[in-house]
């Protein structure tokens, strides 16, 4: 294997795998941060560090890296790159060199993000970076700003690339109405990135201007306003939740249809009701992150209604998944276990979000561990489980080999149990009054037992993830040969050899009359 060939590759599959390697590395770094935090919180008072700044830096890095370095790149970088051209029967993406540029930029972004640990005074401003603290903190946030801008740019050119690819490079006869659900979901995610990333870029740039150039965008003493930043930030970062959600639920659709051997239940409902509905509503709900920030009453009430309405398209997508199981011929290999895990975690996460949509309930719930528990369920771990499900699912395609099924299942159950211990407990102590972003809780000693339980849970779930990683590495090196289509899927990516060669097929795949990526009944 030639390293240079990989670095300068324009093959969408290799670009995808580079994204995967980078984002899993980011996941490992941010995961270590999580364990450090959990270790610190395992006793009242200082535990592994007596300097609260250390905790704050870990927390900042954990949040920022998990979202910007792990989940978004894994979902819109790895999965989109690897799967979309294969699913639509294309040789590659529309602009392969631009694609290579985007993965390079991604690595530059990751390296900048990791460099923050080696500069004096790393940032401690949380991934949200609210002023005034983020402009007066001694932490150096400039690298963070550049990371966001670079990753954002990578994501924008990726978005343009994939929209073009799907619009113009589908195999002859592949109509829009026959696209894989995953392809639709990813298109939705890229549309959101194209619209909203510039807003985040603006927000963090203005913060850097205020901090380093002496402007006063967010400084009330000079006529600026602190809330403007929060609005700009969440105007991007709420849609970003759907940038994560859409591709991951798309992955789950691919897996559930394959392992139930059924087409998705009510395809049009899922695409036009679910995906379009989410894309349409996603920009109208951001104020639910500012329910206790002194916004005007009318907008808090208005966005309570729009936020609750998100449950409609999301509910349709969950019905679509449940309905796909109906009269299936269901088997339970590792990818399916993770996919079912996602459905369970997402159900809990989604439903516990309903109280957080209600302004008057958030006066108690917001800024508490209840929020932290909720968003880990709905996005952080549900998304991570989906990424693991997808990597297991496409593993034989990527490597041509099979992972170990037994260890796959063991890893799943360990992670699943640990996850619920940690994040259920978080929601519980949150309702009872535990605020988030606390290095210490000495005035709330009643929560010590719960914190210890969570630390144990975090270790358990970490072990499960490590088992999965080892399973992949071992499987990629010496797993048994997998063949073209080990899962018996009908989707196009399984019609070429594993791993597919550069160009994917010797000649473009020909679709027979009545073909669909989910045409199981005709088999």
């Amino acid at each position: 294997m030639n390293i240079k060939e990989w670095i300068f590759t324009t093959d969408h599959k290799r670009v995808g795998i580079l994204y995967l390697i980078g984002s899993i590395t980011a996941f490992a770094v941010a995961g270590v941060m999580a364990l450090l935090m959990r270790a610190e919180l395992s006793t009242i008072g200082p535990t592994i560090t007596s300097n609260p700044s250390n905790y704050n830096v870990w927390l900042y890095a954990h949040g920022a890296v998990m979202i910007l370095g792990f989940q978004i790149p894994a979902l819109t970088g790895f999965f989109a790159n690897y799967c979309i051209p294969l699913m639509i029967g294309a040789k590659d993406v529309a602009f392969p060199r631009v694609n290579a540029l985007s993965v390079w930029l991604f690595y530059v972004g990751i390296i900048l993000a990791v460099l923050t640990f080696f500069i004096p005074d790393p940032p401690d401003v949380m991934w949200t970076g609210y002023p005034p603290y983020s402009t007066i903190s001694t932490g150096n946030t400039a690298l963070y700003t550049f990371t966001v801008l670079i990753l954002g740019f990578a994501s924008i050119i990726g978005g343009v690339n994939f929209l073009t690819t799907v619009a113009y490079m589908r195999a002859p006869g592949l109509k829009w109405g026959k696209l894989n659900i995953f392809v639709w979901c990813t298109l939705g995610a890229f549309v959101l990135q194209l619209i909203f990333v510039p807003v985040l870029g603006t927000a963090v740039t203005l913060i850097s201007f205020d901090k380093y150039l002496g402007t006063h965008f967010f400084d009330p003493a000079a006529g600026g306003d602190v809330l403007t930043y929060q609005n700009l930030f969440w105007f991007y970062s709420h849609p970003a939740v759907y940038v994560i959600f859409l591709p991951f639920i798309g992955v789950i659709y691919e897996i559930v249809t394959t392992f139930a051997k059924n087409p998705p239940f009510n395809y049009k409902m899922v695409v036009y009701g679910g995906i379009f509905g989410i894309v349409g509503l996603s920009g109208e709900v951001w104020v639910h992150h500012l329910y206790t920030s002194g916004m005007a009453d009318w907008i808090r009430i208005g966005m309570m209604v729009t936020t609750l309405m998100i449950s409609v398209p999301v509910g349709l997508m969950v019905i679509g998944l449940a309905g796909t199981l109906y009269k299936g011929s269901i088997t339970f290999e590792t990818p399916m276990l993770y996919a079912l895990g996602v459905m369970f975690l997402f159900l809990i996460g989604g439903l516990t979000g309903i109280p957080l949509a209600v302004t008057s309930l958030t006066v108690h719930l917001s800024r508490s561990y209840y929020v932290v528990g909720h968003f880990h369920y709905v996005m952080a771990v549900a998304g991570t489980f989906a990424i693991f499900a997808g990597v297991y699912y496409w593993f034989p395609k990527m490597t041509g080999r099979m992972y170990n099924e037994r260890w796959g299942k063991i890893g799943f159950w360990i992670t699943f149990i640990g996850t619920n211990i940690v994040f259920w407990t978080m929601m519980d102590i949150g309702v009872k009054g535990m605020p988030r972003r606390y290095y210490d809780y000495s005035h709330m000693s009643q929560f010590e037992g719960a914190h210890q339980l969570m630390t144990i849970g975090a270790i358990i779930l970490g072990i499960g993830f490590v088992i999965a990683l080892i399973n992949w590495i071992v499987g990629a090196i010496k797993g048994p040969k997998a063949g073209e289509n080990p899962w018996g899927s009908k989707s196009l990516e399984w019609t070429t050899v594993s791993p597919p060669p550069h160009g994917n097929w010797p000649s473009p795949p020909v679709l027979e009359e009545g073909w669909s990526p989910y045409a199981y009944r005709r088999a």
């Binding site: 059924n262 002194g294 809990i348 108690h364």
Partner: protein
């Protein structure tokens, strides 16, 4: 009104000043409703609501998973029926209707409780709060100042008008189910109804800096008489105006 809406659509809405003094005076006429009790009530209602939805989904999916698992000798393809156009539409319209109905029901209750949290009773004690890294500084109507300790009389609504001299903070009293941020350049408010004498923790909700987790204080609820005595003594001790309270 139209101008108000127009302005709100523009980016200016982003910096809309929360009308801190804008609570309807009509609230005075009504008997005082305790928002904390309303919070507990609505929380339980929503909890029951989401539990029912969750249990239904979980049961249906578990049933499908058991009933339709592939047993030896089963066909290797599923046999989901093809939806007729009418059924496909019904599977959108009915769930949308059910979800929307539930959403609007929750929203209506949430709105009512919200009004309760925002309409401050006319018969109240107003205290000013300035937060700073890392303390809560209270000023009573008669000029008495305290730090990290808010003494209040039992049975009387307490309103805080809040601002901050540095970063964002969030005055959270978990026992009274209420928090709101304080920030430089703006005035926000909150109120609560302390019913019985006792002590309650105040803790900072918004990440405000390195010592954020140590920014704690107390609400101490005293019997009305005792409170009055304390306030007068403090006024004398601090040499402030005295009995304007």
């Amino acid at each position: 009104m139209l101008r108000r809406i127009g302005a709100s659509l523009s980016l200016a809405a982003l910096s809309w000043h929360a009308a801190a003094a804008d609570y309807p005076a009509a609230a005075a006429a009504r008997a005082i409703k305790d928002p904390a009790a309303g919070w507990d009530h609505l929380w339980h209602e929503v909890l029951i609501d989401i539990t029912i939805i969750g249990v239904i989904f979980a049961l249906v999916m578990t049933y499908f998973l058991i009933r339709y698992r592939r047993k030896p000798g089963d066909p290797k393809t599923g046999s989901a029926p093809k939806l007729s156009p009418a059924a496909a539409v019904a599977w959108v319209v009915i769930p949308v209707f059910v979800f929307l109905a539930d959403d609007l029901y929750i929203a209506a209750n949430g709105w009512a409780l919200w009004n309760n949290f925002r309409d401050v009773p006319a018969d109240r004690m107003e205290v000013r709060l300035e937060s700073g890294m890392y303390s809560w500084d209270y000023t009573y109507p008669n000029g008495v100042r305290t730090q990290n300790e808010l003494r209040v009389p039992a049975g009387k609504a307490v309103m805080l008008r809040m601002t901050s001299r540095d970063t964002l903070h969030s005055h959270w009293i978990p026992d009274f189910r209420v928090k709101e941020d304080s920030m430089p350049g703006r005035i926000t408010y909150m109120w609560f109804l302390p019913k019985q004498p006792g002590e309650h923790i105040v803790t900072c909700g918004a990440y405000c800096g390195i010592m954020h987790s140590y920014m704690a204080g107390k609400v101490i609820v005293l019997p009305a008489e005792e409170f009055k005595t304390w306030l007068d003594q403090e006024a004398a001790r601090q040499g402030v105006a005295g009995k304007t309270a």
